[in-house]
Symmetry: C2
């Protein structure tokens, strides 16, 4: 493996001294980039893009040609996992993901199993290919959905406004949901470990829907399984620590509990006050975030103002990875993305002068 030239991102996650605050952006390879849209058109569909090692590598690297990002993230989708379990993932244009075989009845669930990881070979191949293509330039992040977030889609059969089917199961048949979550936790653990073995240098667990749960349900149906996954992860590869990031959207009020997971960093959405969050989590974890993705619809002055506010909010010292508080909006102007990345680098130097 090539020597890693820029390890600022990995060091910040481990709260080791850095020269500036590293930055990457959730969904940095995506529809807001014309070159992404061109590659996707070439692939035929989003899923074919995920399945094609060469093209997945290509789109992962596209934003690095434009922006001085400090990490790359595997181009893939969190729903590859339930697809490998046989749920039949497909995308309905303009409506998002759908499963042919959602888990809505007991008989759908009793047969659910941890899939053979060979069914996700294409993901691990993409990880290897991207790692090789990066050639030590910056680290590669692998990822998975959280057990609970995956279960949301698996039960609903797609996205949902109110997650009524999921919640009905949660309140009426909690043991069925626990069965799904248990299988998901085992699967996610194996999936992330295989990504790490294939070359991922850090991993992020996207807990996109934790924030729809009541406080009590969050503990029982989400946090518990996050802990299962985190405790099963391979935390070292090539003699170097592999940091683990958990991002619960809408999880600002559970930061202390999330910080008690054995993770290295927590992602926080844009509603969180970074200064208060740092006080809450103390020395336990680094923080990643949390610019409002829609702040990129401002102008250079307003963006500089927001970047300054967030850097000042976290304050001096390592342990902050700059990111958005959620994925880039597809209508974002790439020029504003370039501006934010450069401003983070320029303005953060003063917070790392020891």
């Amino acid at each position: 493996m090539a020597v890693l030239h820029n390890d600022t991102f990995l060091r910040a996650l481990l709260k080791q001294p850095v020269d500036y605050t590293p930055v990457w952006l959730m969904r940095q390879a995506g529809r807001y980039l014309p070159e992404y849209r061109a590659t996707r058109a070439k692939a035929g569909s989003f899923l074919e893009l995920c399945h094609n090692t060469e093209l997945a590598t290509e789109v992962t690297l596209q934003p690095l040609e434009r922006f001085k990002l400090d990490a790359a993230i595997l181009f893939s989708d969190i729903l590859t996992v339930p697809d490998a379990m046989g749920l039949g993932l497909h995308f309905v244009e303009g409506e998002g993901p759908r499963f042919t075989h959602p888990l809505q009845h007991e008989q759908d669930i009793v047969h659910l199993q941890v899939p053979d990881m060979s069914r996700l070979r294409y993901v691990f191949d993409a990880v290897s290919s991207i790692r090789q293509a990066l050639n030590g330039r910056i680290p590669l992040i692998g990822f998975s959905g959280s057990p609970f977030t995956l279960a949301c889609y698996m039960v609903e059969g797609g996205g949902s406004r109110d997650f009524r089917l999921l919640k009905t199961m949660l309140y009426q048949r909690p043991q069925l949901l626990h069965k799904i979550l248990d299988i998901n936790a085992q699967t996610v653990t194996a999936y992330l470990n295989e990504q790490i073995a294939s070359g991922a240098q850090a991993v992020q667990i996207f807990d996109t829907w934790g924030g729809i749960l009541s406080d009590a349900a969050f503990q029982e149906f989400d946090l518990f399984y996050l802990r299962q996954v985190v405790s099963g992860l391979q935390r070292e590869a090539d003699g170097r620590q592999v940091p683990v990031i958990v991002f619960t959207k809408g999880g600002g009020q559970w930061l202390e509990q999330l910080a008690a997971l054995e993770v290295d960093a927590l992602g926080v959405d844009w509603t969180v006050n970074l200064q208060q969050a740092r006080q809450q989590v103390g020395q336990r974890v680094a923080l990643q975030g949390n610019l409002d993705p829609l702040a990129l619809f401002g102008n250079p002055e307003s963006i500089a103002c927001e970047v300054k506010r967030l850097l000042a909010g976290y304050g001096a010292g390592s342990g902050h990875v700059f990111n958005l508080g959620h994925g880039i909006n597809q209508f974002t102007d790439p020029e504003m993305v370039k501006y934010v990345v450069d401003e983070v680098h320029r303005l953060s130097v003063g917070y790392h002068q020891n």
Copy 2:
């Protein structure tokens, strides 16, 4: 005016001793009730229902015939206010509210004015009519959207998934948004005062979209104007205090700042831990909430369990009004609503024995 027979709700909001925890449910008069659907069909449309004093009174009282609720809430819509400002409210079947003249350009905004309250006469007439029909049975709650929440719809021209137009204005042209918010705050203040003068015995400000803001933007564009409104409210009528409730959905992390408003109570959504929330707000305000609306899709056992958990979470003493953490889902079984109301009454007595 008739003597108020059941003032448990008003007393709980003021943290005065009560015999049991009072309960009402956001959107308790609504589509989940067959009798509501019948009246709405008779009215012709949702807006005609809001405009018709007799029918608005009828639907407000419908849930009281089924459930032992401790408060009634005016049947109306938060968007009556921008409609009175000339934005042209209409509803597109299956898509929700739309404005014919949204506020997307400077020239739309410079002419915006506090509307003459006579344009909202139909709302105040409904308040008077409902108050009379209640005949002292339980108190009547008036309401308004918050200045920020109204601005979301006014700028977007309807609902939105990402509030891109609103956020673009917020970041690029903050002074335009401040102008709207200033007008909204003046209007909401006058609107609620007129409801109070017409017979509302408590008022709730629905800040449905505060939770989409970054921490910094929440302070500047939402909290500031909530304070404006609250400070301008008439807090007494008929020699009795008129309690003020603010409900910011997704505002769990701003409870301390919200509690510093001169309000009597804060509504909290279902993600909030009620015990921690009570510790955070201390003696300053009562709390209203916060059953997951989807918990009503459980069974009697799971509902009883959730009710117990919330009552125990708040603990002994006055200052808790039981409610959902958001409006009733339209597919809710009315039998489960009856069950939850009765369980709150039955199980809460033990928390009020001094």
